[in-house]
Symmetry: C2
Subunit: 197 residues, 2 copies
């Protein structure tokens, strides 16, 4: 435990800006961001090992068999998962590893890794969330309304997370997460009392 | 829970400098320091309501009967206790209230107030603690050795506290405690999810 990094789960409704917050956190020396694996085909300019690790179904299933995912799920006929090995190596090296995942993934992670630190990023309000979703202008009206409905469901389980941090501004939200990780390192269970003697 | 302050228990061996750290924290607007009550006589320039609330045995025992202490104990024929009313008023007003108490007092507080935040202030090393105790130059050699022995006993139960913070410098230690209190306010249980709807 003592000098290891944390497994940090970050979730939040689409449009909350968690991706931007995670990018801000990734600037820290001791923070790494886990890259998910998927069997879906790359879109547009997506590169293997950048947005995702793109795997064949066979490759993905062989990793499942070897218990190589922190969590995985199948959506619309494609697998998505968080590779375990790289995350564990970073954590052993004292780095905090961020997993940006869906709330369903968090429930699975929490069961297997109860010591993870979980943070739910909350929009300032649903009104503001709607404004942000419309600003993207990539989604149809139907899709925006669907995302808003889904956000309302996700927010209801926010209290299952250790922390809830409102994303009013990216800088403030990232700074709050850094404070949380800093304070967590001061927890008594991470202090080796025997080292005093 | 939501907008209340915290009951913050701070303990640590004599000579660790926790008094100075608490004075530094007291400069914050939202922090109050609980003043203990005692039946011992004032010493030197001690003023009622500053170092202690000086009470008669009768007054003290009547407060005990009315469950008016967060914790109390009798040492060397004198009572010492942490008055409950003022602390609860501050906490309701959203202030964090610091109780600087002995490890024995902490165990009692923790039982009745499991939601308290407990911080053990650790000297950088026993060697440094000895140096600090000798620097005071108010204690006899016998008393210094006794305090060192006691410190070693106290440090062994440091892991019962939520946090262990090393006091290398007063400013750093006080800043670490402020980080802890800040992060604790981001805990999901303090967020009123219903307020989003």
């Amino acid at each position: 435990m003592k000098d290891k990094g944390f497994l940090v789960v970050i979730s939040g409704p689409a449009g909350t800006g968690k991706g931007t917050v995670v990018k801000e956190l990734a600037k820290e020396n001791n923070v790494e961001v886990s890259i998910s694996a998927t069997t879906r085909a790359p879109r547009g300019n997506e590169k293997d090992g950048v947005e995702y690790h793109f795997l064949s179904r066979g490759q993905f299933e062989s990793i499942i068999e070897n218990d190589g995912f922190l969590e995985y799920a199948e959506y619309c006929g494609n697998y998505y998962g968080s590779p375990k090995k790289q995350a564990e190596e970073w954590i052993s090296a004292g780095k905090d590893v961020i997993l940006e995942i869906e709330v369903q993934g968090f429930e699975k992670i929490k069961k297997k890794n109860p010591e993870c630190i979980s943070i739910f990023i909350m929009p300032p309000s649903f009104k503001e969330l709607e404004r942000r979703l419309r600003k993207r202008a990539t989604d149809s009206e139907e899709s925006i309304l669907k995302r808003l409905e889904r956000a309302k469901e996700e927010v209801k389980i926010a209290s299952d997370y250790d922390y809830i941090i409102v994303n009013g501004s990216v800088e403030k939200c990232a700074a709050d997460i850094k404070s949380v990780l800093y304070a967590e390192k001061l927890k008594s269970k991470r202090f080796d009392v025997d080292s005093m003697f």
